[in-house]
Symmetry: D2
Subunit: 233 residues, 4 copies
């Protein structure tokens, strides 16, 4: 039974009426509900909790962590970032969502600026599956739409994904590598683009399916723990 901790900054939904209206109980609650539907055991954690809710105890009970942040990335303590980083290298899965591209933990794991273009006009996004045999594409149609989306456009300044699962098309003329798989240490990492706070994207069934598939895919594997340092075989 894969255990998921859903992390959220949880500020914009409390501070802005348009986000509060869409996610009155916070984006984390909508994400956790979607994962519950798919049979995962979930808990949530948010920025304002002590240690941002990501204590060693909580992480001990976490197989996969999902991360949504918006404009308080700098408020996340470096100590907690390092703690999460170590867990990922030890095998914990990580899903980085939408504006989480600028989170400290994502930049820490990517080694790049993670910058991109954006435009907030509620335009149509169509996601195309480019790897139909990938576990994260299970149960999906070959393309699906997000009717109103914040646009993210290339160049997305990340290392080339080890596997690219989705490519997005935007009404206004941009494309984006929207579903990017990485391995860091023994852990797996999936970046998934959709998820703006003023659209009900995390209630959409295809989006929930992607998140559930990605959690399953990113769950830890019982592989060898490597030895490091001075070595006499």
């Amino acid at each position: 039974m894969t255990r998921v901790t859903v992390w959220n900054e949880y500020h914009v939904e409390q501070e802005h009426a348009d986000a509060r209206e869409v996610y009155p109980e916070g984006i984390h609650t909508a994400i956790a509900d979607g994962l519950d539907e798919h049979g995962f055991e979930t808990q949530t954690a948010t920025l304002d909790e002590p240690e941002h809710g990501l204590t060693e105890d909580v992480l001990d009970d976490t197989d996969v962590l999902t991360w949504w942040g918006h404009d308080k990335h700098d408020a996340v303590a470096d100590e907690v970032v390092e703690r999460v980083h170590e867990r990922v290298l030890d095998g914990m899965g990580l899903l980085v969502l939408h504006s989480g591209h600028f989170s400290k933990i994502f930049k820490r794991l990517m080694g790049t600026s993670c910058d991109l273009k954006w435009r907030e006009e509620g335009e149509l996004e169509r996601l195309w599956v480019v790897e139909p045999g990938h576990p994260i594409a299970a149960g999906l149609p070959e393309s699906f739409e997000v009717p109103e989306a914040e646009m993210y456009g290339e160049r997305f300044d990340v290392p080339a994904p080890e596997t690219l699962v989705f490519n997005s098309w935007f009404e206004g003329g941009e494309t984006f590598r929207s579903g990017c798989c990485y391995r860091r240490g023994s852990g797996r990492l999936f970046y998934f683009r959709p998820g703006h706070e003023t659209y009900p994207i995390y209630r959409q069934s295809e989006i929930r399916r992607v998140l559930a598939n990605a959690v399953e895919w990113a769950a830890p594997v019982d592989g060898p723990k490597p030895n490091y340092g001075n070595w006499n075989s």
Copy 2:
């Protein structure tokens, strides 16, 4: 329940005493026994059966096919190769084992010569796990040995693996990319190096574990079936 068909040329074990001694019931039986132990549903098929045992009916009941061949690669009918090829593109998993590197189906899927160096001196091979978080490495130590192996050495003329799971070290001075993951169409393919006919490699527990992990990893995913051709969205 993942269903595996274990394919074997099944000539060398009947024709050569040293192979017969190690695999009196054929290599396919030893491989199937190992997969049975790990809970898979297995059947076998061999070169001399009609259609090499790989009829449409058999393939309808196959989630993952394993392929062992030695020096009768040319005796495999092109029609059967094309049939297997289509199945892989449609999502069937494929494990290509040891001297199967020169099989028609592997060369067909790789697009290269698949050539390599070899030496048959029963030397020590040590396999190092280079991706400890990969599902195919589950339950393994960080390295393990095959006490007597036929050496395969680089340059291995294949496209760079999408993921490299094992790197082999040989007593005589060579290395080899021994566990190579690929995706072709909707199917997944794993090449695994060890497995010579005169050593009991397919009875070794680590080898059996790798094969079981690889079968699990290569099993088909219920992803979208892409549309091709003239398209009006």
Copy 3:
């Protein structure tokens, strides 16, 4: 001095008025002119020449081969395909252009169906550079447009490119991995999407720049010629 052979089927421009009007001297001539401008030494070869113009002598004088074909792919002799295939594995560069995705040589090197969606409505294509530091992106803006294009849409059934340089956006709602780098044997291969016979795409400066960059990138490297077979180090 990199020597390029520009291969063309050269039927559609002779048989159809709309293609003849755009490329009265054939697509090969337009491609070769563009490469001449960029300082390469070029020659051309076409389907109807003996051995399709790709004799051993011609290939001896070829560092990089470009391939444009449309609907006579089956008319290319297997023997010539095998000859070109061997040259690629030995280090010759190969550029496969537009409808060349269905050529025998491309399918031979990819190992997949190479299928895709298409639509011929003269719609707008915008190509985004996703790897601005790649040599094939030198001298380009971060995006550029083909005003009238035949659409190609995902799923493009090829192995995931080792490097993806361009992502295309189409007016009608599709995306496509338009610039795909591969290595096969000692040779390098670049697939480039734009190039329909009824639009003057091969006269467009950005397209000519891409082709010139790609030729430079795919030129042979004086690397080691691997030994294969029975080996005693």
Copy 4:
């Protein structure tokens, strides 16, 4: 004309007799001599210089930076690391050598621990070229030996290289991915394993050839400078 800055910690050669004997003028001098031989314009910089010799002015004149450090990684100022990091993302090439695997800049770009096994017994290393068509393999034999080497063994905790050029074999039973290519931002990065301070590795002709090839490969490309942020196309 590619301009190279060769950076060295330059402590161990001053503090330890065995290193001083091999590199009386410092490892940087030996590396720079090798690059001079191959026609590059070189300058050197070391830890104890102001700003470690890596001022904005020096970096303005640097196309490719090479990095050798040993046990003073923590003495490198974070500000200089960030400066180098930005330059790499903007297109400067970076060669990270041997014990530089634990440098701040390499860890910053990889996002992982960069840990490994090591053993200092002067054992034989044999490097195998696994990608004979890669520019970094130009002019090399298919394998070459370092007669006395410090062993580095897998698991090497880095993201899987985008291209693996060399695989090392060690007398004592280990393998290592010794030549690893990455792209970060618009910059290219090559990690090359050999290079211990008590062996004359940087005077060996094959090693010098690899470094020269890698400098050439990593040199900046005149690609587009992406726009980021709020975007209206």
